[in-house]
Symmetry: C2
Subunit: 207 residues, 2 copies
């Protein structure tokens, strides 16, 4: 989603403020006052920009919480494209998700979820999460459908995709709550999605 490195703008007024500086200001305030207790205006004041600028970088206040997720999520489509046509597509999905999950070691989790308790972000994450998960599921479903040459009426591609994404999200939730002594996110995701993939691998066998 970030501007492609090949197309850095070379005309027009340069950005005075960065997306990251707004995120930092928001994270500080969420820690001090909680998510609900912090207004967008306070964030912009601390970041030293105007309120309008905030909405230039984020479409909604809750988008700040998902910044880390959005970065990783953009990779999924690329990882899937790189999957060879020789292996079962559902295995390719599994592999792609595990590769991405490996980028989250046990020591550190995104602040929006790691500090969810003190920030009170859990409620807002839940309220604003479905569109993102659905977008990822749509990518996976389309990948499965085309690779397996299935009809658009077939329930199995969207069902498998939704199940895999949901299992991944559930695994991430357990991973966050496991505290600092946990292992990498990948091991949690693997335990969560392997059964799903196995089940659909069998169900999609005749296709």
């Amino acid at each position: 989603m970030a501007a492609m490195s090949t197309t850095e703008r070379r005309v027009g007024r340069p950005r005075r403020s960065s997306r990251a500086s707004i995120e930092d200001a928001a994270a500080e305030l969420f820690l001090e006052q909680g998510y609900a207790g912090t207004t967008v205006e306070q964030i912009t004041q601390r970041a030293g920009v105007s309120r309008a600028t905030f909405f230039n970088y984020f479409a909604a206040k809750s988008d700040v919480l998902w910044s880390s997720f959005d970065e990783s999520a953009g990779r999924l489509r690329d990882e899937l494209r790189a999957v060879g046509t020789d292996r079962p597509p559902i295995d390719g999905v599994r592999q792609a998700l595990l590769v991405i999950a490996q980028d989250f070691p046990g020591e550190s989790a995104p602040w929006a979820v790691a500090e969810a308790e003190t920030m009170g972000t859990a409620e807002e994450l839940g309220a604003s999460g479905l569109p993102r998960f659905a977008a990822q599921a749509a990518v996976i479903a389309e990948f499965l459908r085309t690779r397996l040459s299935l009809s658009r009426d077939d329930v199995r591609p969207p069902a498998a995709a939704a199940a895999i994404v949901a299992a991944t999200a559930a695994a991430a939730g357990v991973w966050v709550n496991a505290g600092a002594s946990r292992g990498s996110l990948a091991s949690y995701v693997e335990a969560a999605i392997t059964p799903v993939c196995a089940g659909f691998a069998a169900a999609l066998d005749g296709a």
Copy 2:
């Protein structure tokens, strides 16, 4: 969620307006103007109540869309409680969902999803859906965990629950888009969740 028939209130001022009448007014307006183009005030005017009364019956404007879902969703816990201890718990979950899905014949779907195109409700349903799905998943996860005597650290119960709920939701989406010629929702849900249940049945076997 509806007031238990055994506890109809017999003291205090009786309700002048019903939840259903507000829903009807909202559905009409959503058809005429779309969801985003309709204000809560317009709904209350057509229903003949004050704006404050609306928020007595619905915590949010989007809750009107989920009224039908919320009614069915309350049944899940009861259906699970009725599952015998002799059969595998994951089969009990599968059976409970299919029983509930049978209440949705092919001819009629809830207006919020059936008319999603003309009402423009899809976006709002997506934005407000996750808390509801998560609540259902939590019920299923707790059922699986206790019936199987698993630890709270185990990823599998929440993962299986989330996957099953997501597959059900995906099936419902396909079902809605299939138009009037479709069969009952149950057949779609069955095709969607059977692979998930099979996969986790194997993964939970040794437990």
